[in-house]
Symmetry: D2
Subunit: 353 residues, 4 copies
């Protein structure tokens, strides 16, 4: 039994992990901290949780963060975790951070990310000394390093889908690592709880809009992870789109094949690669994932197809951006960090219809 | 541990109960039967369940129904359960039926229902001898009768919301039983899995449409249940509307107050009435339920308001039509029938956002 | 040819009337004024209008309002028009105001409205002397008074649907004027262009929520108009709901019949009442309006039904909240004020699917 | 003034052109013909048109098709137009066909299409002699050939967006013609009016699904048109996705640049290419099209971006699949065929919000 403190408890990211904790046999929910929404029960901000979690949200002050807990989850925007992580670690708590703060192995790589991320605006890392100790928290690729880690950088939502879609093909050298294009579609919850003109219902309903065309910050960690498994530098063109759904990410990846293969062979390759993964499903050949085959669960559904005429591999991936794309993978990471069964708290079937 | 057979396994209703069984500690899923979609794994019809339930769906033949099981769930349209229930009971299985077949205490009351229901078209009951043994499965009002029952008629989705919304006020004699109006809004999944012009996405998206105006069949059981708790005949005008959502029912009930009360008093009355109910929540005074405070869970959220100027009580109720409005209440009934904890298999938080 | 100035050009209300002006043969678009979004072309705020209306939005200053134009349209929130209308009239411009500022015949009635409207918060009218000159702009009931009027208060969106739904029955004395209940459903654009937690896509999508239960401010003008046609005080319980659609209002009205009638007779009554109205359609008996039979047009679709068992009349009404509920009726009013054909600029078929 | 007969009047495609005809000054609506929905007014099938078009739909019999009209529009599935076009032409009527029947210059090219199209299933063309006389109806590229043509094959919806997105870059030799990938997203109305499991609201709402991955039939005509303007064979990988919207297509095209350019230069190139096009708008550099900047209009919005790091051109295109993607382009074609102003009947602003 561990006690977990959540910083940023009143955002969608905090909500996601708290809901998972509620049904986790080994986790006790500790402090719920936030910057603005304090002094009221969590269920005032999320009425659906009334009766499930009425704990009062408290101020995320420096002297509180990391106290009386075994783990701090920073469900916060970029640049928050890096300010408090060192202190929390000193106080004996492990740290899992949702943002880009601890996803990169070096200050240089972080700078590349910082340059791309509008809300970071190129500022340097404030705790560069921690980067070497941080582990990139994608269990399917880096499970052994996450086990027992004290500082984990949870991956970006689009990055999860892109990396899982392409890792088998790149590991195997099946595709040209300079040829990769991913077209992403995300639900609006990916933008968080804060209202804005681009997320206003009348503007979004019935609409589709590309954004950060070719410049999205998740490219940096995706390239880092894929280059690592490919053993060679990977390049990536990525265009995300806002889709009129609340939850879910669908990515369609395109890459130039290096040799002739048929779909069956690639399908087999993917099945073998993910054979022991509890949360990755390969769709039957000819079937395609949909958001609604995964939303509400921690699953990542993948399917491969071959465009023979043009010599291209196509991989479609689907995840729930708030679960496998955020809180679900965080839960997997926490289970690995503390030696719990990896699926604990995550036995959820997708919600359909 | 009991073994349950599901007839109609490939509809939304079958799906709902199978998903609940998957996480119920005392239930083993037995035969999955259907009329048309047979010979393939359930997950072929519901790909989100791949890996969770790949059991092959088999033909719902007469000699199979009720065999090798402790319970048969008829997740079937009207007029199916009534043909097979007697045989199933003889074979030693208990029966829970989703349709209107076993919701009524007498053939006369059934006829009233049959007249209103388009798909029944006035035909008489084919197993009238069973009606006296059947229990109406709304646990909040009829819990004691459901305990140990062998034949339960699961309530209609709209009826659940309407009855729970009005039972306290009518029991207490607070409102004129002839003055009741309910305006209902339902998600499209209430119409089932079969495509139709009225459920075609381009027609439904961005649309709202009333249907069966003043003639919906759920009125009959609602009136039966409410008259029973009120101890006097209740009358009801009900207009349902199709809303462009997949899941959820919201009902807004209006009734003429018989005496002056303030909202606080009525709120208190409702809280007392449902004080021990695990699945009914009364919203804080001034707050209102939304579909998304309940969808994905077995909860019924209620809130009361008073229109002082016009002497009217307003009660808003929200449920997930496929859970509290169908499979969730069925699960509660099964728990009561077999002496399991009433909340077993139902500890789910609503899905938000 | 008249020249029209629009104050509040960058909100949904301003947008609506500007789009109608673009295809009106007798109207020249004059100044587009706003408080915040100034100095850029209108099409920067509404990119769909690029090439159609690239006129620069200018500051809505006191010395500008009402100048160089034949008409000022105040597409502004409450309490703006009342500050500038007198000056505009002095400058020789006619005035049409979207808000509640000029909908009421007396300061007392306005106060009743002000008390109910959250954003007015009970404040008294600031130009009470103008109320006697203002005309309530619902052409179907008050056409003759609107013709040639210089100051028109455009009706509230819900009020349009409610008044048109009930005027025939109340004029005819068919229903008890104290028995009226309206359950309303509105698209989110009714809340305007400004983002907010309640209009955030992830919260709204798949959701339904009642609001201002029994207290909505449109009740006041609806009661005023209906009492006027009924010749007796009308009372009204009204509960609006947010529906997950961008555009459209559907209202379901319930009233106690004073005498036995069949649906055919009521249907005939409604057809006769609206026989010469270009924008009111009575659905064939047994059919019901939908949002999508009207959205994109200036139509109001109505249908009647009788609940014989309970002696109640049911009337369903559907409008596009931004057209017949706002800019469309405003266009009708302007046509009447200036002697143009009433349908000018409004010959639009609904958008389906 | 010409008289037009519509075959397939009760589908979405027929609806679209009829609505345009209603406001076209030079067109008289003649026979409305259909195979199944006959004997009732068009407004029975499309209630939003009540009062606008109540003409009775009649049987699409061989002896009726092409009679008493100047033009037949075949708003029909594949393989219908090819059976009747010769006769209609003999009878003196011009022909515009919506399907793939007359989009290809040779039986061989048609066979390639037929092989890919599931509903054609590889069958040979039944009127190959007409292919040489047919013109591919994309006005922006083939305007001069369409003028005065007697037989026009209206383009596929996705093809319109893809061709307009890529024609300038390929004409200019800016990109490698073997490197093209298009990721498409379409509203559900693209699948027509007939309900089906994949278009059932509960399945589609909140969902995204790729289909015909790498095999969609619109690739064939897109390649034909683009190769023609490029003067060299073009290759194309295309993956369409169903998006949960009623109307609209958004395509995101990716191609490898042959030389270094900056976005400004490409933007200028596109502006020049489409300088005189009434229905193509290039978004300001840095802005992106959305479905809602075009839906409800005949516009195609385009925007370009450059991924410098990877040397790729990205072009985003948006159209209303039922207007610019079908009936709107058909209307343009008809205007060209008969010498009417090209924009007649098409002066519609997009519907927002």
């Amino acid at each position: 039994m561990i006690r977990v403190q959540v910083v940023g408890a009143t955002g969608y990211g905090g909500l996601g992990i708290i809901e998972l904790f509620l049904r986790h046999p080994e986790i006790e929910i500790g402090d719920l901290l936030a910057k603005n929404d304090v002094g009221r029960p969590l269920s005032d901000f999320f009425p659906h949780l009334r009766g499930f979690c009425d704990r009062v949200v408290e101020d995320a002050s420096e002297d509180r963060i990391g106290k009386d807990c075994d783990l701090v989850v920073f469900a916060t925007p970029d640049r928050v975790g890096m300010q408090y992580a060192a202190r929390a670690l000193e106080r004996g708590a492990a740290v899992l951070d949702y943002s880009g703060d601890f996803r990169f192995g070096s200050p240089e790589r972080y700078s590349e990310y910082a340059r791309r991320h509008p809300s970071v605006a190129g500022r340097p890392h404030e705790a560069p000394g921690l980067l070497g100790k941080a582990v990139y928290g994608l269990p399917e690729l880096f499970r052994e390093r996450i086990k027992g880690a004290r500082l984990v950088g949870n991956p970006g939502c689009f990055a999860v889908a892109m990396i899982l879609s392409l890792a088998p093909a790149l590991t195997e050298g099946l595709v040209d690592p300079a040829s990769i294009i991913v077209d992403g579609k995300t639900g609006i919850s990916g933008a968080g709880k804060k209202p804005g003109a681009l997320y206003h219902f009348p503007d979004r309903d019935g609409n589709l809009t590309p954004y950060r065309v070719g410049t999205h910050q998740h490219v940096v960690e995706t390239v880092q992870a894929l280059s690592s498994v490919a053993g060679t530098p990977v390049k990536l063109t990525f265009v995300p789109h806002l889709a009129p759904v609340s939850r879910g990410i669908l990515t369609t990846a395109y890459a130039v094949l290096r040799r002739e293969v048929d779909a069956r062979e690639v399908d087999e390759l993917y099945r073998t690669f993910y054979a022991n993964e509890p949360f990755v499903r390969i769709q039957p050949l000819g079937s395609m994932p949909s958001l609604k085959t995964v939303v509400g669960s921690n699953l990542c559904d993948l399917a491969v197809a071959i465009d023979q005429e043009n010599g291209r591999l196509i991989v479609v991936g689907a995840i729930d951006n708030l679960l496998k794309g955020q809180a679900g993978t965080a839960m997997q990471n926490i289970n690995l960090m503390f030696g719990f069964p990896e699926t604990a708290g995550l036995e959820r079937t997708p919600v359909y219809p």
